[in-house]
């Protein structure tokens, strides 16, 4: 079988960070939703910008992280 091309592969570290970011986002969203249901809306602006920053990192990793061969 022909060896599969490794182009566009991510490193273990990049993938681990992407997974970690998603776990943080899930926890953050659950926490924010619970707080909003309790009537605490003051945390929304801060949570949004933290979430936005995490998404920016995740997008950068997914689209801009160097390939393994580079």
């Amino acid at each position: 079988m022909r060896k599969l091309p490794r182009k566009a592969h991510l490193s273990d570290a990049a993938l681990a960070v992407a997974l970690l970011i998603l776990a943080i986002q899930l926890y953050l969203f659950e926490t924010v939703l619970g707080a909003v249901l309790d009537g605490y809306r003051a945390i929304l602006p801060g949570s949004f910008f933290v979430s936005l920053a995490l998404t920016a990192v995740a997008l950068a990793l997914a689209f801009k992280a160097p390939d393994l061969e580079e």
């Binding site: 566009a8 993938l15 979430s51």
Partner: protein
């Protein structure tokens, strides 16, 4: 970087994968999927931020509504309760008098899965999953609920009549009447 052999036909360079490799899912694609899901959470938080109306069952921040007179509230004895509707016919609430003699009002919606809570004289009880809330501030004390009940602000008129006037901004704030 390894170069493709020049001798390969054009079609091979355009379609470098064999049929059995088509279902291959690269790490890069997986990372992109993770990033998109992450962006979805951000959009969700942004939606919650931009939404003006409170979520179902969530108290508005000190929102006031058309005052609702609570008939017979003054006659309630300690450990007794009565039901009333507030914002609309579906907004069912419970008014109770604690053993300290204070009047308290809460939405009847349990913060676990939305069943109607009732007052057993000592605690507010959700019969669906045996969740209990203490009557003074609506905090969960036993069972699956983890969030306090939504409180209703009460107001006592000069003639002693009691009216429901709005949502408590925070469940921890007193709704003394």
């Amino acid at each position: 970087m390894a170069q493709e052999p020049v001798s390969k036909p054009f079609w091979r360079r355009a379609f470098p994968l064999d049929l059995h490799e088509e279902s291959r899912y690269s790490r890069r694609e997986f990372a992109r999927f993770l990033a998109v899901v992450s962006a979805g959470f951000t959009v969700g938080i942004g939606y919650l931020w931009g939404r003006k109306r409170p979520l179902e069952g969530a108290p508005g921040e000190g929102a006031r509504h058309e005052p609702v007179p609570l008939e017979g509230a003054a006659e309630l004895k300690a450990g007794e309760s009565k039901l009333f509707t507030f914002r609309d016919a579906d907004d069912r609430c419970i008014l109770l008098r604690t053993h300290e003699g204070k009047l308290r009002a809460y939405r009847q919606t349990c913060t676990h899965l939305g069943c109607a809570v009732r007052f057993d004289g000592k605690r507010l009880e959700c019969p669906c999953h045996m969740g209990f809330f203490e009557p003074d501030r609506g905090f969960p004390v036993q069972g699956p609920p983890t969030r306090p009940l939504a409180g209703i602000a009460l107001e006592v008129g000069p003639d002693g009549s009691v009216r429901a006037v709005g949502d408590l901004a925070k469940p921890t704030e007193g709704g003394d009447a």
